[in-house]
């Protein structure tokens, strides 16, 4: 016999909507990071290239981690 799901469909939809909101914020943050890094790099300031790559990777890992819950 199949066990009852942990959440109802409505609850799962709410959870997925929350996860999508987080993902949207993270992705917009990454877009901003990319444009700011590109602008600084083309202007000769390459000091933020490394930290920006690290921050963007952290955002990706957070997003991939959230994906596991849906």
């Amino acid at each position: 016999m199949r066990s009852r799901p942990r959440f109802t469909r409505a609850q799962r939809t709410t959870i997925v909507n929350g996860v999508i909101c987080f993902l949207l914020v993270l992705t917009v943050l990454q877009l901003w990071l990319l444009t700011a890094t590109m602008d600084a790099f083309l202007g000769g300031d390459s000091s933020i290239v490394g930290p920006a790559l690290l921050a963007s990777t952290v955002c990706l890992l957070l997003g991939a981690g959230l994906l596991r819950y849906i």
Binding site: A10, V16, L34, G44, A52, L60, G63, L67, I70
Partner: protein, 187 residues
């Protein structure tokens, strides 16, 4: 039979062949019969697409970092280059030259007070050639009406986002030499 409007949304519809499967095949999870389940699948697919977009942004950051590494390893040694005779330019006069590479166009200007300044001639907006206007004290980019200060190279009006790279000069009795280039984000 239960009316569709009063049906519990958690109820699962029967498959078209009317067989209840205790363990449905994997493909049916991606092609559900019920609307609520289908919406869940659509949201899940959208979330996956967002993470894929996130991967693309990280790849973009990686590309910038790779470009930084490549450029930092192949910086050509800055050499001095004679670009004009000491008294070649009168006040208000200008002369173009290439420095540090043969395709790096720069412009040397003698200001009205006799001071010599030199900057890259490429506008920091879209790389059009800027034109010195000594009377108004500006470099003008004719493509999109960008303006730079003639003495400092600072971007003062229009779309250019950064100052002009400044060419460092050394004046000797036998001529004017370019000895370095200063790429700045703020003048």
């Amino acid at each position: 039979m239960t009316d569709e409007r009063t049906r519990d949304p958690d109820d699962v519809s029967l498959a078209p062949n009317a067989q209840v499967e205790a363990d449905p095949p994997a493909w049916r999870q991606d092609f559900p019969i019920d609307w609520p389940k289908d919406e869940f699948v659509a949201r899940r697919e959208f979330a996956k697409f967002m993470v894929l977009t996130s991967c693309a942004f990280v790849a973009g950051q990686g590309w910038i970092a790779a470009q930084h590494l490549v450029r930092s390893r192949r910086i050509a040694p800055v050499t001095s280059l004679k670009i004009a005779d000491a008294d070649e330019l009168p006040p208000g006069g200008a002369k173009t030259f290439n420095y540090p590479g043969e395709h790096d166009r720069c412009v040397l200007v003698r200001l009205a007070d006799g001071e010599l300044v030199a900057f890259s001639q490429l506008c920091t907006h879209l790389s059009c050639a800027v034109i010195p206007d000594v009377g108004r004290g500006v470099f003008v980019c004719p493509c999109h009406e960008g303006y730079f200060d003639l003495r400092t190279g600072r971007n003062i009006a229009g779309p250019p986002p950064r100052p002009l790279p400044r060419v460092e000069l050394r004046t000797d009795p036998d001529g004017v030499y370019a000895v370095g280039i200063d790429v700045r984000t703020v003048a």
